[in-house]
Each structure stands twice: as C-alpha cells, then as structure tokens.
C-alpha cells in the first residue's frame, strides 16, 4: 500500500468518525418542543421525550403514555377522570392537568416561551 492510499484511508476514517460523533451528540440532546415534563405537587417528577414511545407510571396516582409523538393520560386514580378524557398533546399549548392528584403533564415550549395563555 503506497503513501497516498494510506492517507486516503486516514481521510475517510477521520470523516466517518467526526460525522458519527456529531450524530451521537445530536441524538443525545433532543430539541425543544420534543420534550415534556411531569410535575407532581408542583415539583418536577421527570422530563421525557415525545419521540420515544413509553408508558410512565406516576407513583400510585396515574399513568401517562407517549405514543406517536403525543402524550396522553392513560389512566388515573382521580374521581372526575378529566385528565384521561383530555386529548393527547404534542405542542406547548394547554397541559394535561389532574387537579385531584396534583399532576401536570406539559410540553416544554421552545427555549423562548415562558408561559402560555
């Protein structure tokens, strides 16, 4: 193998490694608008991604589910079940709130928005 070919291999390797690591960094930090928070009694219970289907059990209060880029309340121990009837949310508009259990599920707005009226 001559010098030129060796340099070729190094060049390709550098490109691939750089691109792969950039890809890893991008995938590990998701963009705003694709994350949501669950709060219990005003305290942050957890932050989750909208692009990963999941079922989240919030203590013994209620169960939230992420499916197809939306999050909704699958079940709750509350009496009025308003939170369960709420339509699935996928944007930083109204949150899903379970007042009796004091649980709030809300999409994080772009790093810009403070509150939504």
């Amino acid at each position: 193998m001559n010098k030129k070919t060796l340099r070729d291999i190094i060049l390709v390797a550098v490109i691939v490694v750089t691109a792969a690591s950039a890809l890893a960094v991008i995938n590990s930090s998701s963009r705003p608008g694709t994350e949501f928070e669950i709060l219990v009694g005003g305290e942050l219970f957890g932050t989750y991604r909208l692009d990963r289907d999941a079922v989240i059990t919030v203590g013994d209060l209620c169960v939230a589910e992420v499916k197809g880029g939306e999050v909704f309340m699958r079940s709750s121990t509350c009496a009025n079940q308003t939170c369960v009837h709420h339509r699935p949310i996928s944007s930083a508009g109204d949150p899903i709130v379970c007042l009796p259990n004091s649980v709030t599920v809300r999409i994080k707005g772009g790093s810009e928005t403070d509150y939504v009226v």
Binding site: K4, R7, L11, V12, I15, V16, A19, A20, L23, I26
Partner: protein, 166 residues
Amino acid sequence: MKKTEKIAFTGIFTALAFALSYIEYLIPFDAIGVPGVKLGLANLAVMAALYLFGFFSAAAVSLVRILLSWLIFGNFTAFAYSLIGGVLSLAAMYLLKKIDLFGEIGVSVSGAVAHNAGQLAAAWLLTSTPGVWYYLPVLAIAAAVTGTLNGLLLKIALPRVKKIIN
C-alpha cells in the same frame, strides 16, 4: 494529446456522465430515508476527465451534464442544488488532486462530501431552514461510503482507460 482530441473526449465523457446519472436515477436509493443520499455515479466520469484531460475538461463534463439534466428533466430546484453541489465538488477534487497527497479514493470522497455540503448550503439558502444542517453528519458518512466506492472503481479503471485512449 491534441486539443481537438481533448475536446472530443470531453464530449464523450459528458455523454457518459449523463448516462451514468440516468442509471443512478433508475436505482431507487430513497429507502435510506434521508434526502440527498445518492451513488454519485456521474462523478466517475468527472473524475476520470480530471485525471485524464485536466481541470477544464472536468469542469465542462460536470457543468454541461448538470445543464443537460435540467434542460431534459426540467426541474429547476434540482438544477440549482446540483449546480452548487457540482461546483463545490469540482473545486474540492481539483484542490486535493493538485496537492498530490491523496489517491483517487481521497479525491473522490472529498468530492462527494463537498457535493453534499453544497446541496445542504443550497437548501439552507433557498428555504431558510437552519434545520437542514442536522443532516450533515449522515450525509457525510454516506459521502464517505459512496466516495470510497467510486474512488476504488476509478483506481481500477483508470490505467485501462489510459491505455485505450493512447
């Protein structure tokens, strides 16, 4: 090689580039899911022209081929993207060949990466969507792969083509 010979061969290679790009169009690569990933077969002809006949010949092959594609298939946005990609690709390949440190594979890969970067830049300028740059890493890896393949092919074919021409 006489000038007229060069011009004649340039014409042939242009037609070759056009034919290669059409063949590539027939092979569906969309399954990858990322826009802009392609084999870049036409680049083989451009590179061969670069190595055999020099910069101006390669430039002619590349630009005339892109123009032809537009005239015949009529897609302006595709033309704009191809043009920017083609120009950057040519510049990168010429530079890398000139410094004479890399082989055909290196030249081919740099051409492919430059081509994809150029297309992303075109998309960014024309649609004002900064989000397009998220695709750069994926396209860079794809360019590395297809560029290596094309480079290998060129490496093998070049000596034989030289013999035929001379």
